[in-house]
Amino acid sequence: GAGVSQSPSNKVTEKGKDVELRCDPISGHTALYWYRQRLGQGLEFLIYFQGNSAPDKSGLPSDRFSAERTGESVSTLTIQRTQQEDSAVYLCASSTVPLQGAVEQYFGPGTRLTVT
C-alpha cells in the first residue's frame, strides 16, 4: 500500500512569509508525528496526534509553529513569519497506536524548507 506522503518536497521561501507543509499518513494509522531535522543532525520531535486526543505540542519551538489534523487523515504544519533558523527538513511519520512507545514509525520523504 501507499506509504506516508508529504508535500511539497522542497520549499524555498523568503524570511517573514508563512508556509504550510502537508502530510498524508498511511491509511488506518491513528498516530501521526512531525519532526524536524537540521542539516547533519538527528530528529527533533515537534508534535504528536493520536485519534481524537489532545495533541502533544510540547516540541513546537515557538508560537510561530502550529499543526492541525483532520480526524485520522491529513495533517498540516504551519510556520508563520519564517526565520532562517527554520530551514530544515520537516519529516512526518505515522503509526498504529503506540503502546508504551513500542511501535514502528513510518516516515515520509520529508519537506526540505529553505528560508532565504
Partner: protein
C-alpha cells in the same frame, strides 16, 4: 534526556566486512529502535528491541541491548554498498523518538 548517542560518528569499511555501531543513553526505557537514513531523507525502521530482550536478529542485522549499561549495539554482517547510510538509535519510553546525530556508514565497493 532520552536522546541516544551513537558511536562512532563515522565508519568506513570494505564491502563484505561487518559494521558495528553503538548507542548509549541515560534514562530508563521501554524499548530501543534503530533507523536508517539514506541521502538525508528516507528514514526507515530497521529493528525494535524491548527492554526485556537482550538480543534480536533481522536478516543481516543483529541488535543487542544492555539495560544495566544503558547501551545498545547494531551489527551489520557481510556489508553491501547499499548499506551506506546514516544509522540512528532511538531509545524510548514514550511515542517520541529523539535521535542523536547518528553514525555515518560508508561501505566501499
Amino acid at each position: 534526556s532520552q536522546q541516544g548517542e551513537e558511536d562512532p560518528q563515522a565508519l568506513s569499511i570494505q564491502e563484505g566486512e561487518n559494521a558495528t555501531m553503538n548507542c548509549s543513553y541515560k534514562t530508563s526505557i521501554n524499548n530501543l529502535q534503530w533507523y536508517r537514513q539514506n541521502s538525508g531523507r528516507g528514514l526507515v525502521h530497521l529493528i525494535l528491541i524491548r527492554s526485556n530482550e537482550r538480543e534480536k536478529h533481522s536478516g543481516r542485522l543483529r541488535v543487542t541491548l544492555d539495560t544495566s549499561k544503558k547501551s545498545s549495539s547494531l551489527l551489520i554482517t557481510a556489508s553491501r554498498a547499499a548499506d551506506t547510510a546514516s544509522y540512528f538509535c532511538a531509545p524510548s519510553s514514550s511515542y517520541k523518538l529523539i535521535f542523536g546525530s547518528g553514525t555515518r556508514l560508508l561501505v566501499r565497493p
